[in-house]
Symmetry: C2
Subunit: 279 residues, 2 copies
């Protein structure tokens, strides 16, 4: 089970013994029961605590936007010191899975909050001020159930021919069509998603995924290229055929590195640019 080093203090035999019993059905919720064999033996205690919190997040014990238990509560639940819980939460916060708010608590992060509503969209107006251009207007061109091609299936870890939802839409900023994108979602998980639902939902699409399907995108990988607009793309974006466009292929993951969305976007970059910070 859990690896426990020699008692860290000299006078804490009880705490030490207790810590070796983290995994028994001590913890409320179904998470602990779900994956009994997934316990990563031989790693620092705080990593194991992090893993346990992760399981609870994944199992939906706390929903996006909700507060998780206080550090003291978690320390008591897992029978470790507050400092150890703190270090576990530090890492979760660094990965943007939770957000700490002094005096209030630690909250499950969500794509629904205003200040992170474009967390995965790096396209910025050249003015640099996203708010100045107002909210994006979205036009759903297509939303249908199709069979996954070999390529789509591979990206989403499905089998060729499995059902996937394919969506095509155009985003316009200040009335100017700027992004044309297609995306594919596993049909099983997103059963019942309709164009109407997407069109009427206020807020980011990723927030809709959280609310309606319980799917939280936690990270993504993008591959970016320069391409020339073909006739159809040019028409949809109201520009000349052959115009250079930024091609952005994004694979988004939920917990445990499970891919959940493949998105292919074409961005016009005469008035906007893709911004990236390196360090």
């Amino acid at each position: 089970m859990i690896r426990r080093k020699a008692s860290p203090g000299l006078n804490l035999p009880d705490a030490s013994m207790a810590a070796s019993q983290i995994f028994p059905a001590d913890t409320p919720g179904a998470a602990a029961e779900a994956a009994p064999s997934a316990t990563p033996a031989f790693s620092p205690l705080y990593q194991q605590i992090k893993g346990l919190i992760l399981q609870s997040l994944e199992a939906g014990e706390w929903k996006p936007g909700e507060a998780i238990p206080s550090e003291m509560d978690l320390a008591a639940r897992f029978r470790v010191s507050q400092g150890t819980v703190r270090k576990a939460i530090d890492e979760l916060a660094a990965e943007n899975l939770v957000v700490r708010r002094q005096g209030k608590g630690t909250f499950v992060s969500t794509h629904a909050e205003h200040h992170v509503r474009y967390r995965f969209l790096k396209l910025m107006p050249d003015s640099g001020d996203r708010d100045a251009e107002g909210p994006a207007s979205r036009t759903i061109l297509e939303c249908r159930r199709v069979r996954a091609s070999a390529e789509i299936a591979r990206s989403l870890a499905l089998r060729t021919g499995d059902a996937v939802l394919q969506v095509r839409r155009v985003l316009a900023f200040g009335g100017v069509p700027t992004i044309l994108e297609d995306f594919w979602l596993p049909g099983n998980t997103f059963k019942g998603l309709t164009a109407e639902q997407m069109a009427s939902f206020q807020g980011p699409t990723y927030a809709l995924f959280e609310l309606e399907f319980g799917v939280r995108m936690v990270r993504a990988e993008e591959k970016i290229r320069a391409v020339a607009a073909d006739a159809q793309q040019a028409e949809l974006l109201a520009l000349a055929e052959g115009t250079p466009l930024l091609s952005v292929e994004r694979l988004s993951y939920t917990y445990n590195d499970v891919p959940m969305e493949l998105r292919r976007g074409l961005y016009r970059t005469d008035t906007h640019h893709y911004r990236n910070d390196l360090s």
Copy 2:
């Protein structure tokens, strides 16, 4: 000067008093003397310690690749606990300014190390394996001293007409010209840089900057667009005029958010892609 809260422990009056005297010429090296008024009052102790370490890094007290003093030594120097120093170094490590190596020490990070030699270059071969394509071959097309245009000057925080070094070069991977880039450096700081020096230097250009000019690029901002190759660009990259190319404008900073290089690159993306990880 420094803000010091009430004594944290009950039985540590000495340590508490000592901590309020961090700034006197207690510290070896010239750093402490250099910026007497830059002390950020009213911030957590570890942030202040971080700032002091930063000043020493900036002043060159420890060179890239060298080890900085151990946590114990720094704790003694600054009269704080090891844990406080640790938290300061944690942040510096998170910003890639230093690298920790268990059992060995903490080292000033450098662009010269093999595994980070393309820290700022996000272009990847489609195969995904940078090593497979071998080292880049560099062709310096131009390296001359010019007067800064208004635009260049603004980016580099200079005055229009100030001397800047302008370099143009082509990078080829596996014999295929892939990147055409121009970059501009402040003439004062990089006095004496020649095309020969750049051509003969083995390793990343940013490593040369560290070794020969003591300039460490610590972060950068990129703006990415899709553009069509003009006649000259097409010829230099050996492709057809009008080919879509990725335009990458990078502004690199050294310590204290001082801009030190403006770089404009054109990447061909038929065999490579710009890779970005979002979280």
